[in-house]
């Protein structure tokens, strides 16, 4: 395995320069995907027989829930890479992934609660998936709190990396025990509709939205990691050079 590209990929400068090139295209692709998915889901997909139009919230709830969970695992693996190979960049990715993941978990929670009102008559129902989502939100908040609790940034990174790993081990346990607990108390009521058993016309926009959300997550993460890189590498020459370029562009009124 040629380790060279792995360590080269780890250098913040290389990461910053490479991402600068795709940023605009990536942003445009994300926007197109999200808009088409939303319009398609809200306007063109047929309504659900039982739930009527409130079912359309699935086009926001399911992608956000997907990303909330995937984001946690991405954050934990970035932390693990940081711990094992002591890569500063992967710590930065972990640090920026936490708030984005927490925000998406909150979106999933809010849309799940709003969806509960027309379906079950109350905003908060202890449905298995909504409860697990709430616990995931607490895990995110825990990781973020530990990250900023230490005076030295390094200790904070290591501590939150270990906590994220501990969380990853616990997520399947928590999800399974919440599911089991849910069947114990309310076996009859329906869970939020699971995606695959849906009518193709309903399912296609969902796929577009999920893809759109993945691109959106990557975009938001790249943007905040780039800021973190500039903040950490402010003393280096290449950052000074970039700042210089940025200033001359601004002075000449181009930017």
């Amino acid at each position: 395995m040629d380790w060279n590209w792995f360590h080269r990929m780890g250098s913040p400068r290389w990461f910053y320069l490479v991402t600068s090139r795709w940023m605009p295209w990536f942003g445009a692709a994300t926007l197109i995907l999200l808009v088409t998915g939303l319009v398609w889901g809200m306007g063109f997909a047929p309504e659900d027989a039982r739930q009527g139009n409130s079912f359309r919230i699935i086009y926001l709830h399911v992608p956000a829930a997907f990303l909330a969970l995937a984001g946690y695992f991405l954050m934990a693996s970035a932390g693990a890479i940081g711990l094992i190979w002591k890569m500063k960049l992967s710590y930065m990715v972990m640090k920026c992934a936490a708030p984005i993941g927490a925000a998406l978990t909150f979106v999933a929670l809010f849309t799940g609660a709003v969806w509960g009102k027309p379906t079950w008559g109350s905003y908060w129902v202890w449905d298995a998936r909504v409860t697990s989502m709430l616990i995931l939100f607490f895990l995110y908040v825990g990781v973020m709190a530990v990250g900023n609790a230490f005076h030295s940034q390094e200790a904070g990174n290591k501590a939150s990396a270990v906590l994220a790993l501990v969380g990853t081990v616990n997520i399947p346990i928590i999800y399974k025990s919440v599911d089991w607990w849910f069947t114990l108390h309310q076996p009859s009521t329906i869970k939020l509709t699971s995606a695959p058993t849906m009518h193709p016309d309903m399912f296609q926009p969902l796929l577009v939205m999920i893809l759109g959300f993945y691109c959106f997550y990557a975009l938001a993460l790249l943007l905040s990691v780039r800021v973190e890189i500039l903040k950490r590498e402010r003393k280096t020459a290449w950052v000074r050079e970039i700042v210089g370029e940025h200033l001359t562009l601004k002075d000449s009124g181009l930017r």
């Binding site: 306007g43 047929p46 009527g52 139009n53 409130s54 940025h246």
Partner: protein, 68 residues
């Protein structure tokens, strides 16, 4: 695959469920927008700070040469 609603008001009302659907859409849109905008704001602020640092250092350097 055709537009499910006759006209715009019907589309907004979504026969009764419109409030919930649009509330979810608006909140999701606001939070997502914030996730993109806040790093951009921080980026501009960061560039300004670094630029300021550079200018301060240059001044010190030039004073250093001047007084040598």
């Amino acid at each position: 695959m055709k537009f499910q609603f006759e006209n715009l008001p019907d589309f907004i009302a979504m026969d009764g469920h419109g409030f919930y659907v649009w509330a979810a859409v608006i909140v999701a849109a606001l939070i997502s927008a914030w996730l993109i905008i806040s790093p951009l704001i921080r980026l501009r602020q960061m560039l300004k700070d670094i630029a300021q640092e550079v200018t301060i250092e240059n001044i010190h350097k030039s004073e250093g040469e001047g007084s040598k």
